[in-house]
């Protein structure tokens, strides 16, 4: 399987075999780290929107593999402020680097960048659309903590309407015969187009507003923040911000092996007391960003085959 020069824009571009292949490479890289395989390569990290984990883990991954990083951490410090189009920014970056990682608030921006660039482009989040590297690290975390990907009962709670990590993970896991539980207020439920896709793939799913209704069924609970920045209306945000809370009381009624995940940052949706329980998998999940992003950079740059 050759990933050299391949753009990583959407999880939908990956077949089941490709997903498993990438996860195998991640595992190998984690077990037997390779040093300096990206020496002489330059990563352009173009972050038009704030990010902590994604930007830092890409930077760290590139540097740990001997490569260098250029770029910016917000749109204010780029020529976008002067009115430069994204197309032009990418056309220019194309000549300065060997690979581009982009985060941008507008949907479709990563796909457009991939069309503009001759070097590979990795999508690090385009609005509420896609965030494929997060999905791969989520899958890797599930595989690592549960020992498998097949036949799992996976709950998603929080902002399922705007949460791109939820959309991508649900679609990626749909290759592995899961049962899904979508727990959200009606106004923030999973969008119909994703539910249609799951229905067509004959995936069993339940929708509920009650966090406790299926708590005993779950193998994995994927918690998301109610994202203030995605709400057009501040009042709407206030209405929903504290609607679900994972705490010790909730954990009294779950399977012993339940793993709780969260793409982070969290606000108040997971109580700190959960951190010290064996259920908490979210910090390990964040740590998995490094081997996953290392693998993707090395694959796209053709240094691992």
């Amino acid at each position: 399987m050759d990933f050299k020069n391949r753009d990583i824009i959407s999880i939908n571009d990956f077949s089941k075999e490709e997903l498993l292949y990438v996860l195998r490479v991640v595992k190998q890289l984690e077990q037997k780290p390779k040093g300096n395989i990206l020496r002489g390569k330059v990563l352009a990290a173009l972050f038009f929107e704030p990010s902590t984990r994604t930007r830092l883990s890409f930077t760290s991954s590139m540097e740990q593999l001997g490569g260098e990083v250029i770029g910016f951490a917000n749109a204010e410090s780029s020529s976008t402020q002067k009115g430069e189009s994204l197309w032009d920014t990418i056309k220019m970056t194309d000549r300065y680097a060997d690979i581009i990682v982009i985060r941008h608030p507008l949907e479709g921006s990563a796909r457009l960048s991939a069309e503009a660039a001759s070097i590979p482009v990795i999508n690090a989040g385009d609005g509420s659309n896609q965030h494929p590297t997060q999905t791969l690290l989520d899958m890797y975390t599930i595989q690592k903590t549960k020992g498998k990907l097949d036949n799992l009962h996976v709950g998603f709670v929080g902002d399922l309407k705007y949460g791109r990590t939820v959309h991508s993970l649900a679609i990626a896991l749909s290759n592995f015969n899961p049962t899904f539980y979508f727990i959200a207020p009606d106004a923030l439920q999973m969008p119909e187009n994703y539910l249609d896709e799951l229905y067509q793939k004959k995936i069993k799913y339940y929708k509920t507003t009650d966090l406790n209704r299926f708590s005993k069924e779950l193998d994995v609970l994927y918690v998301t923040r109610i994202q203030k920045e995605r709400f057009p209306d501040a009042l709407e945000y206030e209405k929903f911000k504290d609607v679900y809370r994972i705490d010790e009381k909730f954990l009294q009624n779950v399977k012993k092996e339940l793993r709780i995940m969260h793409p982070l940052p969290r606000v108040s949706e997971i109580d700190k007391s959960v951190d010290s329980t064996p259920h908490a998998a979210y910090f390990e999940q964040a740590a998995n960003g490094i081997p996953v992003r290392k693998a993707l950079l090395a694959l796209a740059l053709g240094r691992i085959k």
Binding site: S85, P105, L106, E107, G108, S109, L112
Partner: protein, 153 residues
């Protein structure tokens, strides 16, 4: 009253024709006439409300030849239809397929020497490029000067 000089220089009075209000008005025939074209393309059986959209999709406002557009014509097949005739331009299959989204049952005839040289059936393409505007306000295509691209599923 206007006067003008007659052939022999005499002044001639021009009288308005008197109309007898008791008699029925003479019947005047109005005919819609879109003339046949010698060379070009005729797009028929367009749903009448999509007619101008077809012209728009095909960028006919920039075409230099004669473009005739008729709407609200009677059609046995679809009730009310539109026709677009484009003189001096033979549409390609790709161009024809662009209109599939608004006029899937249109018939397209390529005309040479007043005769139908080729009939093209409209076929929905796999990708619609720069035909539809994205309705998502936070889509990049609404803020950058780029073509939209839709995959038909």
């Amino acid at each position: 009253m206007a006067r003008k000089k007659g052939r022999q220089g005499k002044k001639e009075k021009i009288r308005a024709k008197k109309i007898d209000p008791t008699k029925p008005k003479p019947e005047v025939k109005h005919e819609l006439n879109i003339s046949a074209i010698e060379e070009g393309t005729v797009i028929d059986h367009i749903p009448t409300d999509a007619t101008f959209k077809v012209a728009d999709i095909l960028n006919l406002d920039k075409h230099n030849g004669v473009v005739s557009i008729a709407t609200n014509l009677h059609s046995k097949r679809i009730g009310s239809k539109g026709i677009v005739k484009v003189a001096g331009k033979s549409l390609t299959h790709d161009e024809v397929n662009k209109i599939a989204i608004v006029a899937p049952d249109a018939t397209v005839n390529i005309i040479k020497n007043f005769n139908v040289k080729e009939k093209i059936k409209v076929k929905t393409p796999d990708i619609l490029e720069n035909v539809i505007r994205c309705s998502n306000p936070v889509c990049i295509t609404n803020s950058e000067q780029v073509n939209t691209k839709f995959y038909v599923v």
